[in-house]
Structures are given as C-alpha cells and as structure tokens.
Amino acid sequence: MSDNGIATLRVSGLVKRYGDVAALRGLGFEIGSGEIVGLLGPNGAGKTTTIEAITGLITPDEGEIALCGVDIRRHPRKARARIGLALQATGLPDRVTPREALALFARLYHVRPDIPALLDRFGLVEKADAAFEALSGGQKQRLALALAFVNDPALILLDEPTAGLDPHIRQTLHGHIRAMREAGRSILLATHDMAEAEQLCDRVIVIDRGIVVASGAAAALTGQVRLSTRVQVQTDREAGLAELAGAELFEAQGCAIRFRTMQPHRAIEALVAALDARGVVIVSMQMGAATLEDVVLDLTTAGRGA
C-alpha cells in the first residue's frame, strides 16, 4: 500500500478468454508501494496474460485493474504512462542504439530523463552507440530494464527478465531490480526461476489456470506447505517399489526413488526395510525442507500431473 492507503496495483476479478479457453478466471491481487512481488506458476497459468492485461496489451473480458487508483481500462494511456515494462524478449529495431532507444522512449512517454545517467546506471555507457543487434543477451536485458525506468514509473512489470542469461549477468540484473525497489518502485516479476523469486521477492503470488492459488512471503509459503520434507534416494538396482508407508507423491524410476513426507523417520524406516527385503542397496540419499519450487509444484495442476 502507498502512504495514502491506495495499493500501487489492484487487480480484481480479471477474466480473459481466448475462444473456449479461459486464460484468466477471476484473478485478483494487490501490490503495495516499494514491493517486489513474484508472479509464479507453470506454463499456461496466466502470468504473461496477466502482465499483458495490466499493460493494456490485451483487453480483459471482465474485471478491474487500478494503478495508483486510476482505472487502467478507462484511462489506459494515463496508466501506461506510469508503468515500466520489460518483456521476455526486448523488442527493438535491430539497428537502433541504446542511446537512441532511450531518447525515443523518452519522447513516447513525454519525459526528459537523464539519458547518460541511465546508460551509466545500467552499465551501457560503452555500448551506448552500438546497434541493438550487436548487444549481448545481458546487455539487451539491461537496456530493457533501462527502458522500463525511462518514464520514472510507479509500477514496473518484468516478464522473465533474466531467462536464458548466465548466472553472473543474472546477479547483475538482480542488483538493478533491487535498486528499483530501493528507488520506491513497485515491481511485479513473472518468473519460472524459483531461486530468483526467493532471492528477490518480498512476496510471491502463485497462479494456476488463471486464478491465484497462494500468496505470501516465500518463507511463509514453504513453511505452510503440507509435505515439508523431500527425500531422494539412489539405489544400486531397480527396487520395484510402487508405494511406501508414510510417503506421498511417491515416484520410482529406475534406480531413483523420490517422495515427500510429513513423517520422515517412519517413511525412511519403511524404505530401508523394503529395500533390505529385496536385497537392494542404497547408494545415496538426500533429504531437505520443501522449497518454493515444491510449493508451486504442490499447489499447481502441472505439479500434480493434472
């Protein structure tokens, strides 16, 4: 929430259909001021559709979207002026330079940003006059973030901003995203990278089939998850087990056995006994607390194999 109690972004009852397929089915959430919120979910959950609806790239069939109290559907241009956007693939003409792109977007947003400062802030000074097509993947994404910042937005929408980038560049971009929050911006980050969401986000929203299935801080969600211990076992040969007492989401493929359990002692005892009875030897065993990825897998239909 902002200081005056108005959420930076309020989405409610959002519905979007493509023919018979409902991409969004009454989606609703809020983002407060200076908050990084992760939008998580499997492919087809509705993440990109949600971002497109907020930006006005698509028109939802039903629902309301308010940015700082301004109804986006009624005042789309006014709202867009306060949104920064970095999509999965940065769409810019091949031969435009970062300096020209920033100047163009400044005009498109009717603002006069300090372009040299933006180039410096996003590490693009050396490539300021290079053609977009000559930039590396990381440089292109840094430019996308710089463009998202050009209009001094209240809300920044980032759709998979670090997808396909190497870990070093990803860390650099994470630094830029944190800096955006420190500058008071609200950020909605759609990502498949759960580690990224855990590192960056103050809060995550898990959506599935166009509705929110969970929302809260990553730590809180992993703590709430019902199946909190994950067990992975490697054996010397196939054990032929189909189930195990005390284990859920049991899965055995070749020499690999995976399951989750609320009663690790009991389940492991049963596993050892079963393997012993079959003369199968344990080669390795890993146990750990549930991660955000487990939460998403647990809460979404894709994770449940639906």
């Binding site: 241009r77 693939a89 091949d94 163009l104 005009r107 053609a131």
Partner: protein, 481 residues
C-alpha cells in the same frame, strides 16, 4: 520534437542504416532509370515521356514492399508490442510510419528526377503539380502497403502479397504497359487499379498539363489511399496474433475500391483510344515530296553536303529565297501523319473547350512576346524557333495542349512574316530539318514548357512535320480550321 516526429525521424535514420532498404528504395529505381535511358539510346525525351511510369514504379515498390517489410519485421521481433505499451495512441505510430515512408518515397523520386535531368531530361513542366500528384500517388500506395503489412504474418509473406499487387499493376494495371496499348478487357480491369491513375497524374505534372484535367485520376488515387487505410485499420494488429477484423471497415474499404473501377466504367473512362508507337520513324523530307524532286542536281548536292544528310534531300534552291512554286507544288501533303493521330497532331480550329488548356495557351502567347528566340532577326531561324514551340509538346505527348498549340504558332508566324516568305521558309525548313540552330529548344521553360536537353534529332523531325503541315494550311492543301 513530438513523439510522432521523433519516431518518424528515427525510422528514417534506421532506414539509411539498412543496406537492403537503400538498395531496394534508391538503387533499384536508379538502375531502372539508367537501363531505360540506355535502352532508348540515351535520348532524354523518352525519359520525360515515361517519367510517370518510372516514378510510379518507385512509389509502388517503396510502398508495397519497403513499408510492409520494415513494419512486419519489427512486428515479428515484438517492437510494435513494446510500442503498444507506451501511452501513445495507435494513430501516432501509424502517422509516423506513413510520414517517414512518404519522405523516403519523395526523396527517391527527387533523386530519380535529378538523375534523369542529368541525363538530359527536360525540367518538369509543373513542379508543384508534380509534387501534388506524387503525394497523392504515394498516399494511395502507402494505403495498399499498410494492407499488405496487416495481412502478412512474416517478411516472406510480404514478398508474396506484395507481388500480388505489384505484378498485376505492372502488367495490366497501366504501369509497365500503357493503358492505351492494352486490349479492351485489360483496360476494363485496369480501371480498378490505381497504377494507371498514378502514371497519368505524375505524367500530367511532368508535362505541365492542367492537373485538374485529370481530376478523376486524382480522386481515384485519394479514394484508393483512403480505402487502403480503412482496411488496414480494420485489420490492424500490434503483434503477429491475428485479430478478428472489423467487418464494417473491411466492407467499406473494399466497397470504396470497387466503386473507383465501377464509376470509371460507368463514365466511360475505362477504355482509352488505342495507342500506336509515338516513336514511329517519321522519315526524312523525301517521304513527303514527289519522287522526281528527290534527285538533286550536282551543284546543289555539293552545296548541301556540308550541311548534313537531311540537306541533300530533294533540293534545287540554294536558299529559302530561291524556292519556286514548282518546288512547293511537289509536296505530297496527303502523306503527312493524320492531324488526329499521335504524331504532329493538329486539332480542328475552335475545338478547344478545356479552360485550363486555353489558359495555358494564353500564357504561352503572352510569354512569346518576350521570348528571345521569337525576336531572332533571321526570319528562317525565327520560324524554326517558333515551330519548336509546337514540336516539343508533341514529342512529349502533352495532350491536349499539343493539338492546339500549332494554331498559336501558325497565327504568330502569319503576323510576323509576310505570307510569301513564310511559305518558302516553311518549305525550306521542312526540306532541311537538320539545318539551323536549335538553342530555342532549351529555352522553352520561359514559356512554361519543358525545356528539352540533349540530342534534338527527334525534335527536328517534328519541326519538319509541322513545317509541312502549316505550309499545307497556307497553301490551302491542308484543313485551315
């Protein structure tokens, strides 16, 4: 700088960084022009007479290939999707695309005209009219280009769709092959294509004929641009996902386009009189005199040898003053091209109804008073100069001016030169087309006419024909009007 201007300016700059865009937008039209020039043996007047076609091809290629290729390539890469997320309205981006493309077409057209003039082509007769015509033509083709951009899902699809417009327009649309040369069925089809109206409008601007005389063509082009814009708007998409088109827009756009062709049919504008080659060899003066006059006596042939081959034909006299009645009597006026034909036409007197052409002739009449070649002391040279005023518009097919201008020249010469001298001078000029000085041909701009530069052989041929034809009128052996 506004957002539209900023975007348009960036698009222009990016265009000039694209080697292929420069090759297709500028180099190809120039190669086409140069090839045309070479094929027509470096003569400037065919360039002038066919500038309508050349500039139409330039505009058509730039609008129907260049525009959609650039737009679809950007759309495929998600550029337009990113633009959509800015606060700018759709119209701003469309306006900047149209404006930048128009400037690219205009610059290509100006360069083409400049190069043609460097090859010796005459200065366009009506530059403002030409600019207006080219602007309307560009608008029409940009409308079509926008439709292609909205229909095509990929750059290869642009090429395929663009060809669907480009090739029919060239072949039966009156662009590569003149409408008059097409069979009737093709002329009916061509009435639905903007190409023929584009060629006519630009050519009108080149020759300096009254632009409003071609009002239907200009309206047809404007409606084509409007129809294209409406259809493109109904199909508009920011990304490659197809959207359901607005049927009302599609129906309105297609309806407007069909209306152009239908109105042309109803008003009898679809089929034009069939053309025949303007460059038919009109031959030398011997073609228009009786056979026995062709054999020159030895003394005259020796004299004529120094004045060119044309001077050696059928000549006994040593100067125009020596021309005898019997010489003139041997002219076979019936062999001259018909007055209603394409070569050296002369309309019946009193048939000029087009006010704009009448005004143009009045302007020329007034300008002739101060035209230095009309004050040439030598009557023979002065007459040649006057006849050039009729010959050049004929050669450049400045219809209908070319049919009526000979009467002005005829009347001026009759006022200026005693009839007894004039008939001898006409005969002399007709029999000696290669003699005399021809700088007057390059001074026609003072009369508001195109000033032909370069080789003047074909102008001299037309001077010869008009000398014969006006002589026939003096002799009452041709219609006096």
């Amino acid at each position: 700088m506004s957002a539209i201007a900023g975007h348009a300016w960036l698009m222009l700059r990016l265009n000039f960084r694209n080697r292929l865009a420069i090759i297709y937008g500028y180099l190809f039209p120039l190669v086409f022009l140069a090839a045309f020039w070479v094929l027509y043996r470096h003569e400037p007047d065919p360039l002038f007479a066919h500038m309508g076609e050349l500039l139409t091809v330039t505009a058509l290629g730039g609008a129907c290939f260049g525009l959609p290729t650039a737009l679809v390539a950007e759309r495929e890469r998600g550029v337009w999707r990113r633009y959509q997320a800015t606060p700018q309205p759709t119209g701003a981006f469309v306006a900047s695309v149209v404006a930048s493309r128009y400037l690219l077409l205009l610059s290509a057209g100006i360069i083409q005209i400049g190069i043609a003039m460097a090859f010796g082509m005459a200065v366009p007769g009506d530059p403002p009219g030409l600019l207006l015509a080219f602007t309307v033509v560009s608008g029409a083709f940009i409308g079509l280009g926008m439709v292609v951009a909205m229909l095509a899902g990929s750059v290869p699809a642009v090429q395929a769709l663009g060809q669907c417009i480009f090739l029919p327009m060239l072949m039966i649309g009156g662009v590569a092959i003149r409408v008059e040369s097409l069979p009737d069925w093709a002329q009916h089809v061509a009435a639905f294509f903007p190409g023929r109206y584009a060629v006519a409008a630009i050519q009108q601007g080149m020759t300096g004929g009254a632009l409003h005389a071609n009002w239907f063509g200009l309206v047809a082009l404007a409606v084509t641009g409007l129809a294209g814009g409406i259809v493109a708007a109904s199909l508009f998409r920011w990304d490659n996902r197809r959207r359901r088109p607005r049927m009302s827009g599609l129906i309105l756009g297609v309806g407007l386009w069909l209306a152009i062709g239908i109105v042309a049919q109803l008003q009898g504008r679809a089929v034009m009189a069939h053309d025949w080659p303007d460059r038919a060899d009109v031959g030398g003066p011997e073609r228009y005199v009786e056979a026995e006059r062709v054999r020159p006596p030895p003394r005259v042939a020796a004299h004529a040898a120094g004045t060119g081959s044309g001077s050696a034909r059928g000549l006994r006299a040593a100067s125009w003053r020596d021309v005898q009645e019997s010489d003139i009597a041997q002219v076979a006026f019936e062999r001259l091209p018909p007055d209603a034909g394409l070569v050296a036409p002369i309309a019946p007197r009193g048939t000029l109804q087009d006010g704009a052409v009448a005004a143009q002739i009045a302007t020329i009449r007034q300008a002739l008073a101060a035209w230095p070649p009309a004050r040439e002391p030598d009557m023979l040279q002065r007459t040649r100069n006057y006849l050039a005023v009729a010959a050049v518009p004929d050669l450049l097919q400045m219809d209908p001016l070319e049919q009526h201008l000979p009467w002005l020249i005829f009347d001026r010469l009759r006022q200026d030169i005693p009839p007894a001298d004039l008939r001898r001078i006409f005969y002399w000029i007709a029999m000696h087309p290669d003699e005399g000085e021809d700088s007057a041909i390059g001074q026609l701009a003072m009369l508001g006419l195109p000033a032909v530069q370069g080789p003047t052989g074909r102008v001299r041929e037309r001077i010869m024909l008009y000398a014969f034809k006006l002589l026939g009128r003096l002799e009452s052996r041709q219609p006096a009007g």
